[in-house]
Symmetry: C2
Subunit: 413 residues, 2 copies
């Protein structure tokens, strides 16, 4: 079974909107065990959409079209599919009522334009999952099928995951379960991880139990995704559990979380478990660590706040640091201790360094000190980050939070 | 003249990498006056790449292929184009030397694999612009042409802007100059801007002098792009100048910058002109404003730093605020004054509010106070932002910086 993706919208060709929908659908198809060999972007032009759909149906078993289901004159995906099927559009009274009800629920009248969204090519049916006002379509063409879903990402994702993928899997006779689990790591490069896991990847190639893929994700860390197939959810979960344990044993404590965990959420959870509060002292990052921490809802129980000591005088006057080099071990230790004291926090995390592009205080760009103070204990670590300004700042954030994560785990601050 | 884009790489189909290259090329083609009707992603499979290229050459005048020019066995764009041309690959001694010299310049030996990159389909030529180790290709097919450029974005962009686009424009007989200018705005919605500019857009439709497009860009603001064509750079610049002046007159002071200006860079420039220093007091944003300000290299001359007063006690103990509601006018005024005093800054900018998802202190999510203190004067503004947590925080940032921008301009703080 293979399935093409067709993204419809002139704004995609003009680069006004980046087509992330096709990428997401491609990933989901792969995870579902369905091949996708071609993905095409085409503008809001009837003749060209029809040509793309005809070609897609020649070379693939199924097509997912994304976009062009809105209520305006530009939205012609329905018309194009009807032309490919050689049928006319008919208005479905049940869909009219469903759309009217959605507007009603928000206290609004349905505009006349939206009646277009209740039209279906004869022989097509509306998908049972409809998160917004646009219904999705299931359109049989001979023994093949065209699905049409809206371009609004959250509506598209709901329809594809809950309806289109299960139907495609059923068509393909894929009865088993495919599931994946993502281990979030920080501390080893992609090539180093691949080296450490080389024997295990070979073993999996031989046994076919599972596959491993690496996804570098900037300051979100490096993701290791395990994918396994099996007859039922229980057996797949068991394979994933066993494989996760094996990988953790091989790569050690660089794994900081699983699936939706982030470095921030993991650190906040660890702080909560120990009822410890956190204060920050940030120089080169300018508030980036605090911004990430506070992106997590409910962080206020353990996050006190921070001092953005960008200017030297703030380090001295607000944090009470000594008059030493701004990028030095002594400075970062004093900043971390100052964060505890000034913010009334149990733990102080501090960073100071040179983000670049120019050297500062006689230090090269990428020279960064991380400091951690907790009670009587203060420690400092020196980093050399060979990146541009933005990545130096981002990698400083995750590296500092990772140091805190390790200490919270090691010795129960 | 129309030109298709073909992005080559299995990782694109699998969604491991989002294809932003095609979007960028599509935008550049549009700006250069060249139509692009189809953009296709295809994996690293010879037969399928050949099929996609043949089809593209049937329906378009030119093709830009992106990706698959690296030194590994997966990189088969050269082979696919040779198959489409019906010729063999030949090694170009001059290219071998050029690639060897690039490695040499970095003190490295050229690996044997990279010899593949010196191969060209017979009849093709290497592009004169070569920013990395991969040469780009110009491959004539009958009276049409296939360009192949690397998938590495900066290499691709150099080759496309400096070589491919000028050649395509020449082929198309487009002799004039096309240029665009982007006005960066904050303060009016897209529909409101469109309403205010409605008559002007109609006028431009009639005269054909220029076109206007809107690009919503989240907390980067709403962009208004003016595009004009003319015989030479001078006359196009004159049209853009005149149109910019007309739009500024119609929309007023929501225009905060032009082209690469950002709200942060504009505010920093204005502070510099007045030799005024800035201190921040951030609650719901947790450091996001400081992170943005400090993303700009060289900000340290006017940016002192900030207090991230996430916890109530930090507001009281560090900023010296009174014991009033955390989300209140009195609190935000005291925070702004505290930022000046504690950080030794001329201007204090403060934000406090409810990012959500839950209410806080009896206030609904999206309730945000912005405070600005400068010398004796302190002012406060109340916002109601109907967004999710992340966008509420982001829009708080740009709205607070925009208030500061207006005051710096109005009355020379």
């Amino acid at each position: 079974m293979n399935c093409e993706v067709v993204a419809i919208g002139t704004e995609l060709l003009l680069g006004q909107v980046v087509d992330t929908n096709s990428s997401w659908i491609g990933e989901q198809l792969a995870l579902a065990g369905i091949d996708s060999h071609f993905q095409t972007k085409v503008g809001d032009n009837l003749e060209r959409i029809v040509a793309v759909l005809r070609l897609a149906l020649e070379r693939s078993d199924a097509v997912i079209c994304c976009g062009g289901l809105g209520p305006t004159q530009d939205d012609i995906t329905r018309d194009a599919i009807a032309a490919v099927m050689g049928v006319e559009l008919v208005r479905d009274p049940a869909l009219v009522e469903a759309i009217r009800a959605r507007f009603g629920a928000r206290g609004r009248e349905m505009p006349a334009n939206n009646l277009r969204q209740a039209e279906l090519p004869r022989g097509a049916s509306a998908l049972p999952v409809q998160p917004g006002t646009a219904p999705g379509l299931r359109c049989p063409v001979g023994d093949k099928v065209v699905y049409a879903v809206p371009g609004v990402p959250w509506e598209m994702k709901e329809m594809v995951s809950r309806c289109v993928l299960p139907e495609l899997r059923q068509r393909a006779g894929i009865t088993g379960v495919i599931a994946s689990r993502t281990l979030r790591t920080w501390g080893l490069s992609e090539s180093k991880l691949a080296e450490v896991l080389d024997d295990e990847i070979r073993r999996l190639d031989d046994t076919g139990e599972a596959t491993i893929a690496f996804l570098a994700s900037g300051w979100e860390g490096l993701k290791v995704r395990i994918t396994a197939k099996g007859d039922d959810e229980g057996s797949v979960a068991a394979v994933l559990d066993a494989e996760e344990a094996r990988i953790r044993q091989l790569v050690g404590d660089v794994v900081f979380g699983v699936d939706d965990d982030t470095m921030e959420s993991v650190v906040l959870e660890a702080l909560r478990r120990r009822s410890a509060t956190l204060g920050l002292a940030e120089s080169l990052t300018g508030g980036l660590i605090g911004a990430r921490i506070s992106a997590v809802p409910g962080c206020s129980d353990v996050f006190r706040g921070g001092i953005v000591a960008y200017d030297r005088r703030v380090k001295l006057e607000v944090l009470g640091c000594p008059d030493v080099g701004a990028v030095s071990e002594e400075m970062v230790r004093a900043m971390a201790q100052g964060a505890c004291r000034v913010l009334g926090a149990d733990i102080g995390l501090a960073v100071t360094g040179v983000a670049g592009p120019d050297p500062h205080d006689g230090q090269e760009p990428g020279t960064v000190w991380v400091g951690l103070a907790r009670g009587e204990r203060t420690e400092a670590r020196l980093l050399h980050l060979p990146f541009d300004r933005e990545r130096t700042r981002q990698f400083t954030c995750i590296t500092a939070l990772d140091l805190l994560r390790r200490r919270l785990r090691d010795d129960g601050i």
